[in-house]
Amino acid sequence: MLAALTLDALGARFRAGEATPSDAARDHLARIEAHDPRVRAFVAVTRDLALAQAAEADARFKAGKPLGPLDGVPIALKDLFCTRGIRTAVGSKILETFVPPYDCTAYQRLRAAGAVLLGKLNMDEFAMGSSTENSAYFTTRNPWDLDRVPGGSSGGSSAAVAADLAVATLGTDTGGSIRQPAAFCGIVGLKPTYGRVSRYGMVAFASSLDQAGPFTKTVADTARVLQVIAGADPMDSTAAAVPVPDYMAGLGGGVKGLRIGIPREYFIDGMDPEVERAVRAAVEVLRGLGARTEEVSLPHTEYGLAAYYLIGPAEASSNLARYDGVKYGLRASGGRDLVEMSSKTRAAGFGREVQRRIMLGTYALSAGYHDAYYGQAQRVRTLVARDFQRAFQDVDAIVAPTTPGVAFKVGEKADPLQMYLNDVFTVPVSLAGLPGISVPAGFTREGLPIGVQVVGRAYDEATVLRVAHAYEQATDWHTRKPALEAAPR
């Protein structure tokens, strides 16, 4: 079955003429039909478009002129990547009818590389959440245990890859929204350096933190996708003009002699002991491969979460101000004047968590509180970033747990603060704008996936991928797949 293959393996079949992109698209569409009614990763399946795009790829292979490693590969996008003519609802009622008139840069680049779009993926509303339970549409399920969440906010993106419903997907990570769901679903998820991938056409949550990245079955596949989507963009001034290296070329370099730091502050009371054990074991594997591991300190780690939950909401309160019922999406009826029209629209269109963060953020930016909250949070952010800079003077990469626990049950974390704690190990990396990847590092006794995080210097995704790849190749966690039973027809 083609859907079980990695990106590289599928590409090899295409090139060998053993399968066509249309075969792969049909195979995935059939699998989506069979399993997505339970997993519920997709908010929209673009069947006709996928078949048409696949047919074009078929022709290219037939003519002996494929576009590259991604040509004909079935992918899917988190539903906040704007796609021309395809509804982009961002997990929210307020954008239920929003059909963008333009494509985001990341999708344009994937299309230019020949990728085939299967559909759009579920997410927490406006990427605010860690479980997809905040989606205004439905909750996506973890393919390893359908009673559990896939993580979030990019839960649809992680579940789709874990369930072999797509070869690769894109998600976004603001405080952990790629790495945490990748860990929960037992796959690879990379948050590149802030500025590595264009944000143009990505519906904003927190502009200074949002970053797009791939979910794949292997580290090599992630390198392939990153290669295509990375790089400067004239439409995004924050996408840096830092040269993009050949990620595949450096992938197999190994970790011999590499200095790897283990942050003391990332092993805390209350974390799942099975997670801690798995991560420490992963460090041993790397040491066995020749890496020099040492303990490092990131002393401001404990303040990261608090700073993040001020900066994120502050920027969100600004970014989400445009949803007022005037221009696109929902307009609530019954408003007698402008103010009523907007407040009714926003009350009806935004879910509880989004409203909570808009209020938090508005408060943090208000006159009289601005410096004590937003200002203070920015100062903490600087300190957190400095922690990493100092550590990276001594080490080439940092290895840490991705999350303090594993996938929890749907409905288990009703308290928002409990939910926020999920991000404790991913948020500092986001605040510092650094690249971080989560790779499978084992399973709990209950059979739930555990992720280990590798963090690198700014724009040094190459080293992050190299360490992750070396670990992955020395273990077989990534080869395991969840046992999914097809939904009854």
Binding site: M202, M235, S342, L365
Partner: protein, 484 residues
């Protein structure tokens, strides 16, 4: 207390549209008057996912203006988001500059009644304009309202003066001077009717010799010199009367109603916006190389104040004439070109200010560029007056024909036979005829009625259809009369 016991304190915030072809943060056109929403894209419509990218030209224009008014350019400056809800603003925040503006600490020299004063400029910053609401019917009873985002994202520079202005007249003089500067620099067309230049005014009164400023009132949206003058006069009177009556001035925003000639309260301080500024995360800070600023400085044209001074000192014009000629670069250039061809600046200035500007639709560069009489044409006409070919009076008729047809003066004069009769022999014969026909008038003249001479001059002009050279006619009559 009477009004004379108060000192008026005014500060102006001037908004000027920058004359770039495209908008501040996207590639849409900035042309005025296009059909609604035809000059928009995802960026200036504030679509989800869209991002701004700075139009470098707007920064260059802002720096040009900043240097012209002696501001210090902040090589490190950045954009910030200013939040408030209004449907004409697509994102419900405006990308502006707050704590780190493009430039600060400049000044503008104004001249009023022969007196010069320096008005401080606090800052100059860049920001995007908002769209426009179109109401079906009157605002209060409109059945629906539509938004036109063509103007959203058009680049603006805001120039904030210090509270240095002491009267409505000074405020108008400051605005005129500033307008002339930005127009001269080519960074703004200065068109107040189309909203390319508009201002808000902060006004307060304080007792004379008291250092503390009074409570200020902001008057919004003043889009003509007349509105600025009237609104400020009204507001000064209103505040003076209120203070006299023992009332306190409320800090508020007021709107000028040009129909009813009064300011009306918009919102008081308690309802003032909390703009919740924070640095725009979608745009990296602007980091300007010092060399680029030097380059812009080197390319600055002669500014209106310097040019005005030169017109007075080198050309002998009055400050008033010089001021009028320096309202735009095109007009000043026109004057200088005409003077080069006809080096009598006073006469050239008179003709431009009295005749040319009466015919032209305006004094802006566009009007000057479209003028059917080139500077050399005007010089040619004045040369014909100087050498006596035509009289000054006739020159005005020739001028009108030139303006209508675009022909040069000499061709019109030749074709229509308008040249003055300045030949003593030819004119002498006409004088003789006139004298022969009016013996009674000659008698009157001899009897001491000097006005009779004027009648005879008139008769000579009449028989030559006005073409006789008046000086020559007078001389000939003076010679011949006593001999009759």
């Amino acid at each position: 207390m009477s009004a004379a016991d108060y000192e008026t304190v005014i500060g102006l915030e001037v908004h000027a549209h920058l004359l770039t072809r495209t908008k501040m943060f996207c590639g849409c056109a900035t042309t005025f008057g296009a059909a609604p929403n035809t000059q928009t894209c995802p960026v200036c419509q504030g679509m989800p996912g869209s991002l701004p990218v700075i139009n470098r030209r707007t920064v260059e224009f802002g720096i040009r203006a900043a240097l012209a008014i002696g501001c210090r350019v902040n090589l490190q400056n950045r954009f910030a988001r200013k939040h408030y809800y209004y449907p004409d603003m697509p994102k419900n925040y405006q990308i502006s500059q707050y704590e780190e503006p493009l430039a600060e600490h400049g000044s503008v020299e104004i001249e009023l009644g022969g007196e010069r004063r320096t008005i401080g400029v606090e800052r100059l910053h860049l920001e995007e304009d908002v769209g426009k609401l179109l109401h079906e019917g009157e605002l209060a009873t409109a059945r629906s309202s539509q938004v036109d985002y063509n103007r959203a994202g058009v680049p603006l520079m805001e120039i904030v003066s210090r509270p240095d202005l002491r009267s409505p007249e000074e405020a108008v003089a400051y605005l005129r001077t500033l307008r002339a500067i930005v127009v001269f620099l080519g960074v703004c067309d200065g068109n107040m009717e189309e909203g390319s230049l508009r201002c808000d005014a902060n006004v307060s009164l304080r007792k004379r010799a008291v250092a503390i400023l009074g409570t200020k009132v902001e008057i919004k949206n003043l889009n003509s010199f007349r509105h600025v003058q009237h609104a400020l006069e009204y507001e000064v009177r209103r505040q003076g009367q209120a203070l006299d009556a023992g009332e306190r001035i409320v800090q508020e925003t007021r709107l000028w109603d040009p129909e009813r000639l009064r300011t009306v309260s918009m919102r008081s301080k308690e309802f003032a916006h909390d703009y919740r500024y924070f640095p725009e995360p979608d745009l990296p800070p602007l980091d300007l190389p010092a060399a680029s600023v030097d380059e812009i400085r080197a390319g600055l044209p002669e500014l209106p104040a310097a040019r005005r001074r030169r017109f007075v000192e080198a050309h002998g014009l009055t400050p008033y004439e010089a001021d009028l000629l320096c309202q735009g670069r095109g007009l000043a250039d026109y004057f200088e070109a005409a003077v080069r061809a006809h080096p009598k600046p006073k006469a050239v200035a008179n003709w431009i200010l009295n005749e040319l500007l009466r015919e032209l639709p305006g004094d802006d560069d566009k009007a000057i560029a479209a003028c059917p009489i080139p500077p050399a044409g005007l010089a040619g006409l004045l040369a014909l007056v100087d050498d006596g070919t035509i009289s000054g009076k006739m020159a005005k008729d020739v001028f009108e024909k030139m303006y209508r047809t675009g022909e040069d003066a000499r061709s019109i004069v030749t074709r229509e036979g308008l040249a003055q009769v300045a030949d003593a022999g030819e004119l002498g014969a006409v004088v003789d005829q006139v004298l022969a026909a009016h013996p009674q008038v000659i008698e009157d003249w001899r009897g001491g009625k000097k006005a009779a001479l004027g009648f005879l001059v008139g008769q000579v002009m009449k028989s030559t259809q006005g073409k006789a050279n008046p000086a020559l006619v007078n001389r000939l009559l003076g010679e011949k009369l006593p001999k009759v």
